[in-house]
Symmetry: C2
Subunit: 206 residues, 2 copies
């Protein structure tokens, strides 16, 4: 299953593609490990006017979606209460990524930064370096993903790949330590009634 991850931003937008195990396929058949396909950082110049930066970013996002044709696109969830100075443009880039997918019938999901960090490192508030190191290990990359935005996009795609798998891969013997921690964190989250799903942002908005 081809998964695209987007860490939205107007100056630097992390983008990544991995192949995860097919949804619904037990983890014990074949390898449950996701494999690296591509990762990069899309950029626009801070000195240009906002509308042209957004148009350039939209063109680049559409090009990636067109080239890699993911089966699902994941966007890091943006929170209105954080980073007020950049939250608007970050939300706008996230919106452009969603449109690039949805206009081609590709489903979209969202995960929070803490969900992603917990998935790949076992800790929701892991530092960026730890995420980069775990991404390198999980995908068996020859070196660290640079810059961190590309690693974040890879981590987002990995996080989704494991969430897909977690519903069927209940045999803990095939789970990595990080996967086990993630499964435990997910069970804990379920108990406290916190649901992290897709498209929820749109439900209460106008």
């Amino acid at each position: 299953m081809r998964i695209m991850g987007i860490d939205p931003g107007l100056t630097r937008c992390g983008i990544a593609v991995i192949e995860g195990p097919k949804a619904g396929l037990p983890g014990s058949i074949g390898s449950p490990k996701p494999t690296f396909v591509a990762a990069d950082v899309l950029r626009t110049h801070p000195n240009k006017d906002l509308e042209f930066r957004l148009a350039e970013m939209s063109a680049q996002l559409n090009e990636w979606v067109e080239r890699y044709r993911p089966e699902i696109l994941l966007v890091e969830r943006v929170f209105a209460q954080h980073n007020v100075s950049t939250v608007m443009t970050t939300a706008q880039v996230a919106g452009l990524a969603m449109v690039a997918a949805a206009s081609r019938g590709i489903p979209v999901g969202q995960h929070t930064p803490s969900e992603v960090k917990a998935a790949v490192t076992g800790y929701g508030d892991a530092p960026k370096e730890q995420v980069q190191h775990m991404v390198q290990r999980i995908l068996a990359l020859p070196k660290l993903s640079q810059p961190a935005d590309a690693a974040d996009a890879l981590a987002l795609a990995i996080c989704h790949s494991w969430r897909q798998g977690s519903a069927v891969a209940t045999d803990t013997s095939i789970q990595t330590t990080a996967q086990q921690r993630w499964a435990a964190a997910e069970r804990a989250a379920r108990r406290t009634g916190y649901r992290a799903g897709r498209g929820r942002m749109g439900k209460k908005s106008s």
Copy 2:
């Protein structure tokens, strides 16, 4: 000069087109009054997932820009500190409108709600009904623009048409009362060093 105004929103997005006097043409040659071309409210269904609502809204915005080919597109400026529950999606729709214009080489401007209200009514905190009534009078419409979102989009376009004109139409005898008030408010704003221009949101964002 054909001007398009957008009052962004995901459930209801006001959109309007007017013909204003050509930029740089003295107001005394021909009529300085803007004329009505079209106005409507674009909608998406609150029960659908966010990504499909954004994609539908984007398609409708592109259709309008394609059909009316404005020389400039104005978007009501969105503030991060207001209406936290809807600000993210409002910013996303504003971003989609900017991309619909900028990807066709059409310049984009932004005005704040207070600038628009001051332009058409003379008061920055005028109620919606007063804006609707003034829009009806200025464009000599047979009835009120309904719903208010369409009137807001018309008011935004009128505001820009007058700002364009104000640089050359210094002969106050041809200005309406509202135009005179707007010119005075603009002079006052200039004195206090407040610059309301285009694309500024992008300058400090990442």
